[in-house]
Amino acid sequence: MATRLQFENSCEVGVFSKLTNAYCLVAIGGSENFYSTFEGELADVIPVVKTSIGGTGIIGRLCAGNKNGLLLPHTTTDQELQQLRNSLPDQVVVQRIEERLSALGNCIACNDHVALTHTDLDRETEEMIADVLGVEVFRQTIAGNILVGSYCSFSNRGGLVHPHTSIEDLDELSTLLQVPLVAGTVNRGSEVIAAGLTVNDWTAFCGSDTTATELSVIESVFKLREAQPSAIVDEMRKSLIDSYV
């Protein structure tokens, strides 16, 4: 299910939060409402961690992560790094990387299997991404924009991209990512998808300006309507258990 909310008076919830299948990061400094909305949806399933990065609240745009790991920019302080290492599950590798393009969330879009990155990212960073996040990395642009992390948002089940993406590009990206993609908007026509929306395999959070139409597109492309965290585990169980003895 998709939830609409605000961070203070801003609808850019993807800036102040980062949601993955294994954890959720939320910025310090909003009203308790913001944090408790996330808690309400996620508390029993994954940890919701309040944090800052480099003393700022724009954590969603500064870090990139999935269920395997979390990449932090060089501006992250030692205390923040330690706090994140302590609060996140052990299987999540938390790594601070030296990359000139420090807004990793704007440069990298990823799910648990594939990542799209800014074309000018360092070679070492690309290797780090493949290593820490356990993904295959593709340098791409979206509708001519190099900030792929800002203009698209995708999970393991579907993705939403910049509204001006051409059909050919959509097909090409969809083949690369192996998920269905749709070109659309969030927050009443905003093209900066990842700033207005944060999503994982069973739930999404978007800004309160998002219209009902946009919300229904989000719920359908990310397949959120029937999605429950347990549903995913059950599906996997069916394929794992061969026979009952």
């Binding site: 605000q6 203070e8 008076n9 409402n33 009443r188 309160s208």
Partner: protein, 326 residues
Amino acid sequence: MPRKPTGRHPLMKPQPFSFSPFGRSVARVASAYKLKGQMPGSKFHSKNSPNTPGNGFVNHALEDGSEKSESSEEEGFEGVIQADFSFFDPKPDDFHGVKPLLGAYLDDKQWDLSGFVDLILSQITVGTVVKIENNEDDGLYSVVTALNLGRYKDHKCIMEIKEFLLKVCQEKEVLENLRSFVVEQAHDVGLLVTQRVANLPPQLLPPLYDALFDEVSWATEDEPTEELRNSFRFKFYLLVSRIYKNKNANQERRPNSSSDEAIIYIKPEDEIFHKLSSWSFSFPLRTQQVATHELKNYRLVGLVMAMDANKVSTFRQLLKSLINEE
């Protein structure tokens, strides 16, 4: 048909529009050049003249001997950016431009800001947005409008504004005035909403406010129904703004008064409004402001002012003389 401006008030002088300290220093240089003549009111109906050539200053004689020769050498920038600002009627597409300007209107309270922006953009007859002509970026630099508190009293955003103002007003004498404004006399009160980017050239202010008050008076004649016409016959204007107050304001004036002023007005027209207002009150703000060195003795507070509508012409004159002497 409606005597509305065609939305063209191009300023033919170069105007910087960058958001940087450099932009401010360029604005100071640009203000050293005076307009050749007063901008005639009849310009409302004419299409703007053909674009000035790329190098800005060509059209204007440098009559002003006191021209400052600040060279724009910061950040390696060679010339001055020219921009033609244009005034437009608000339209629904301006939502994403207007909303960030009004984000801090009611301090940090979470309220129906989107509804408020929608309301402003739906009132086409009175209200102006400032954009740059022919710019694909569609950046919005200022919004000005006047909303009748009585006409829109059932809108959630207006109710929340009233509730907020009544709550933050801590001065008892003024509270009664405020209460009568927002409850009994709401039909005669216009909420003057005006917000802009911090370094918008001040030369735009007189035409901007002229446009607003002219539109209000035209609306009293041009609106299709009697009720709408009456809704623009404001008797009072109410403004919510912000100022810097000296933290030591309560101390007694020493004989050799320090150069510190009691109040610093962020927007120059606020000083004129405050002087002409019939009553006003300030209220503390919860959002923290970054303390710069020059402002270390000052605290940012909200200011609410009420002005009689018959003082509008005085306001317009004072504003023109204030801007022209800068």
